[in-house]
Amino acid sequence: MAAQRAIRMGLAVLGSAVSLALSWPYWRDFGYWPESRVMWRVYFVLGFVLAVYVFYAFLGRLGTLFEHDALERAQRADADRKAAAAKEAP
């Protein structure tokens, strides 16, 4: 599980880094106070952390979706087998 989490975290960081690179504003002029150097740094850090969170949550929940599916499938197969057995028994 720990390995799986590490992979997910790695993917999330990678995905967010690519998104950040594509979103990087190359033409900043720092003219307006919410666009000062300090604020831009805050935006980048905050944005990156939030993006990692969203990616990580996405990967984790997608994994659970598949786990659920496998579980339900097993249950269904189990129930089918029981039903078949019950039919054959008498």
Partner: protein, 563 residues
């Protein structure tokens, strides 16, 4: 086939029928727009382009809403295990909707005379804002209509303690539908502020609210069609909705790049709308898994085809095409051109339109008490509509790429003399695919309007069964993943093509690279989409045969999980 247990479910029928009629007229206006794009003098002075376009966009919104209302009314009693509250109000809602449609179609034409009906500083009759063209009178009536819908839904639902995620999704959806609408109800003096609030309605409606309703309805339709487990669907609904908002809340900022708002939005908007496809990928897998939960045949193929079309076009139109143009670096080129049209058509019709049609195909036969119906017209209509829309997306995207080059890179701004002639090829493709689409729509509308009323044709079973080989073999998770990957690879090619407009050589006038990337990317993406859906539906058709006695693929194993 389940039977109608709750009589008030039948109230949804009239909304589905209204949806079909409005859809028919919307497509008619769309064809007229395509013709006017080729010859802008067509009907000029009698029915100007801007009026036709306002009718096209408004009817589009209204029929999607009508489909949503129908679907919500149909599933409401099933979700609550009791009759709908206040059926009288629902009947009133229907006539109010009808009145709104007629009134709004009429008042939009006033734009030709420049009449907006200003009263106390507010435009009463029409207000000339894209998507929100309706005047204030209609706005207020629509608000009342939404309030009625909220009341009906919330009164029908069981007590809060018994709400599942689907209840929450629909409940929050209808309340937010009403709330967000109010942001479009004020005349704003500043253009930047007006656009800021206009996107509240357009973006938060589409990507926030409609999407929530969409996820909830898709989830519940899957429960109904595949007997999927309601709890695991609920799980998917919660996280689907959560991811939509986690990405789309700030993602709205991709509309705030160039409207006169500060440039920090360019960073925030790009970053978070890059995440917006994630919930759609999530939804894609959720539908794939639920459709493959049991190996039983699909009873109602048209309904499932439209449901699949909705989820796939959401992935392609909203997810991939949206992604390609969502970065400030690509959007600076695509903004205000036909490139955005391909995204808008695939995403809006695909995601929301097809959901309404899926719900109608599911619900109408049940309400008309049809045990089994001839599914061939429905399936054929699906393919015409689906292929036509993909073709439209291609025409818009190619035309848009040419437009970006001529209009932005070369800076030629004579539309009649320079820009439109360069786009002529694409402009001619639009009505051609539009006609394919329109034929599909006519068939669809005819089929659904008369389903169960006309003389039954030969049954579907008489056709030669689909073999479980080749395209009919079981679609396993890995293969679906590869299809999805292929779509995203083409999406990446399109993105790189749009990015390449920033290159020095392209800006100096060498258009080869972006044109090449666009032709490979768009045609690849749309063909992959077409073939994937064909493959998916074929495998489900084959399952019908398997269900009829043949065993499924031996050694039935779970599709490989993504992780």
């Amino acid at each position: 086939m389940i039977r109608i247990e709750y009589q008030t479910q039948r109230l949804s029928l009239r909304f589905f029928m209204l949806m079909l009629v409005l859809f028919f007229f919307q497509v008619g206006f769309g064809l007229l727009l395509a013709a006017q794009h080729i010859d802008p003098t067509l009907l000029a002075g009698h029915l100007n382009f801007n009026v036709v376009r306002a009718e096209h966009t408004n009817l589009g919104i209204l029929w999607v809403l009508s489909g949503f209302i129908g679907a919500i009314l149909f599933v409401g009693p099933l979700l609550s295990r009791r009759e709908l509250a206040a059926p009288v109000l629902i009947k009133f809602l229907f006539y109010a909707l009808l009145a709104i449609v007629i009134w709004n179609v009429a008042t939009q034409a006033l734009a030709q005379q420049g009449i907006a009906g200003w009263w106390h500083g507010e435009p009463m009759l029409q207000e000339g804002l894209e998507y929100l063209e309706a005047g204030r009178i209609v706005d207020v009536v629509i608000l009342i209509g939404f309030a009625i819908l909220c009341y009906v839904v919330l009164r029908t639902f069981p007590p809060l303690s018994r709400w599942t995620e689907i209840h929450w999704g629909l409940g929050i959806g209808v309340v937010a539908l009403t709330f967000v609408w109010t942001f479009g109800m004020f005349f704003v003096e500043r253009l930047d502020l007006q656009e800021y609030f206009r996107w509240y309605v357009v973006h938060y409606w589409v990507e926030g609210v409609w999407e929530v309703i969409h996820i909830s309805l898709v989830g519940f339709l899957l429960v109904l069609m595949f007997r999927a487990d309601i709890k695991s669907v609920g799980y998917a609904v919660f996280w689907g909705v959560a991811l939509v908002w986690l990405s789309g809340l700030i993602g709205n900022a991709h509309h705030y790049f160039w409207i006169g708002t500060p440039e920090f939005w360019q960073f925030w908007g790009s970053l978070f709308s890059a995440l917006e496809p994630l919930p759609l990928i999530f939804c894609f897998w959720h539908v794939y898994l639920d459709a493959h939960q049991d190996g039983k045949p699909v009873g109602n193929m048209p309904a499932f085809a439209f449901l699949l079309g909705s989820v796939v076009l959401e992935q392609v139109g909203a997810g991939i095409l949206g992604f390609t143009m969502t970065f400030a670096l690509t959007n600076v080129w695509s903004h205000g051109t036909w490139v955005t049209l391909s995204h808008a058509h695939l995403a809006l019709f695909g995601t929301f339109g097809m959901l309404g049609l899926a719900a109608a195909y599911y619900a109408v036969p049940l309400m008309r008490g049809v045990e089994s119906f001839d599914q061939r017209p429905g399936k054929l209509a699906f393919w015409l509509v689906f292929a036509g829309m993909l073709g439209l997306g291609f025409a818009f995207a190619i035309g848009g790429t040419v437009q970006v080059f001529v209009y932005r890179t070369l800076g030629l701004d004579w539309f009649g003399g320079d820009v439109a002639p360069a786009m002529q090829f694409a402009k001619v493709m639009v009505p051609i695919f539009g006609l394919v689409f329109a034929i599909g729509v006519c068939l669809l509308v005819y089929d659904l309007l008369t389903l169960g009323l006309r003389a039954p044709a030969r049954g579907d079973e008489e056709r030669a069964p689909v073999a479980l080989r080749g395209w009919g073999r079981r679609l396993i998770g890995w293969e679906a993943g590869l299809w999805l990957l292929a779509m995203w690879v083409f999406g990446a090619i399109i993105t790189l093509g749009l990015l390449s407009f920033n290159l020095h050589s392209v800006r100096e006038g060498n258009m080869r690279f972006p044109y090449l990337m666009a032709s490979v990317g768009y045609s690849g993406l749309l063909l992959t989409t077409l073939f994937f859906v064909a493959r998916f539906l074929r495998s489900l058709e084959a399952r019908g045969r398997a269900g009829a006695g043949e065993p499924l693929v031996p050694g039935e194993t779970a599709p490989a999980a993504a992780t």
